[in-house]
């Protein structure tokens, strides 16, 4: 005779636990960890290199690069002044998981860093499900992708702590209506700060960088 047993648990509970361990390590080291979630081509690596330049001399930044394969992005961020960088190749997996970040942390000296930017695999669907131990989830979209992203990928917007629109210099050339994008974003997330930037022209990057630096000071209780 079979028995029916109620459980009620998050399906990814063991990932949540691993993420909590990572978060404790970041907190203990006084490091602000940022999980960057975006589709392919939104400008994740460009935003990271722009932030590295903007925060040069103010914060020591390490980068964890998640990618399907290759190390081209790691080379780019090191050239742009990253204090340290670790490449995670997921071997086809479409998102990073907390265990992968835990392994990457074995290769990063957190005591020599203030901020760790984690570039997730380019995908707006599933990275949102896997907590990595970050204090901040950053959702990055680009104007060139169109204004319908919140409608198509709602949970990425609802759980993010900050939402950034890149390639804003192209807004006149592409189908991106602010009047359609922002009300949908605010329906999902009434409080997250919003930034419009262009990594190509540098517009708006200073504002994003100073917000991030303020969050770092907040995290350290300064």
């Amino acid at each position: 005779m079979s028995t029916h047993v109620k459980i009620i648990t998050h399906l990814l509970a063991s990932n949540e636990q691993a993420a909590e361990r990572n978060r404790a390590r970041f907190r203990a080291a006084g490091v602000l960890a940022v999980n960057i979630i975006a589709g392919p081509g939104a400008g994740k690596t460009s935003m990271i290199t722009a932030l590295l330049r903007a925060l040069h001399g103010q914060a020591r930044i390490g980068v964890i690069e998640g990618d399907i394969a290759g190390s081209i992005d790691t080379e780019k961020v090191l050239a742009a002044g990253a204090g340290d960088a670790v490449q995670i190749n997921t071997g086809g997996n479409c998102h990073l998981e907390a265990g992968m970040v835990q392994q990457a942390l074995e290769q990063l000296d957190l005591t020599a860093l203030d901020i760790v930017l984690i570039e997730n695999v380019g995908n707006l669907v599933c990275p949102t499900h896997w907590a990595l131990g970050e204090q901040i989830k950053l959702c990055l979209v680009s104007a060139a992708e169109g204004h319908d992203k919140p409608i198509k990928y709602p949970d990425t917007f609802s759980v993010s702590d900050v939402i950034v629109v890149n390639k804003i210099d192209l807004i006149e050339l592409v189908d991106f209506e602010r009047a359609l994008f922002y009300p949908a974003v605010r329906a999902l997330n009434p409080t997250a700060p919003l930034f419009e930037i262009s990594c190509r022209t540098g517009q708006g990057v200073a504002g994003l960088a100073s917000w991030m630096h303020a969050r770092l000071r907040h995290e350290r209780g300064e």
Partner: protein
């Protein structure tokens, strides 16, 4: 594609629970999955069936209950599911506030043999 990762976590979780309960076999796994969680039932079962042999969950059937998105419209004092459309209230056309973003991913229960 990510169903394979989800299946691996699901298997680890239910196998652990079943062992704690002293079960000999898991027959059914009942999930609650949001309509916008990006999980395809067939892919999840397919992935699970690849990973489960040799565990207590070998041959287990995954039954998924779906929960939709829910928004609240303050003006109309009502909740609504926007379905596939944008997030406007179907009655007054203004944007409500999200109550459930449709991303649930829960194990609700398992059916086991002692």
């Amino acid at each position: 594609m990510h169903e394979l990762s989800i299946a691996a976590y699901l298997l680890e979780a239910v196998d652990g629970h079943a062992r704690q309960l002293g079960a000999s076999r898991i027959l059914t796994i009942n999930l609650l999955v949001g309509t916008r969680a990006g999980v395809v039932d067939e892919s999840l079962q397919f992935s699970f069936d690849m990973l489960a042999p040799g565990t207590l969950a070998e041959g287990a059937r995954i039954v998924t209950r779906r929960s939709g998105m829910r928004f609240h419209c303050a003006g109309c004092a009502t909740d609504y599911d926007p379905g596939d459309g944008d997030f406007r209230c179907p009655h007054c056309g203004t944007f409500g506030q999200v109550v459930d973003d449709g991303s649930s991913l829960l194990i609700e229960s398992i059916e086991i043999d002692p």
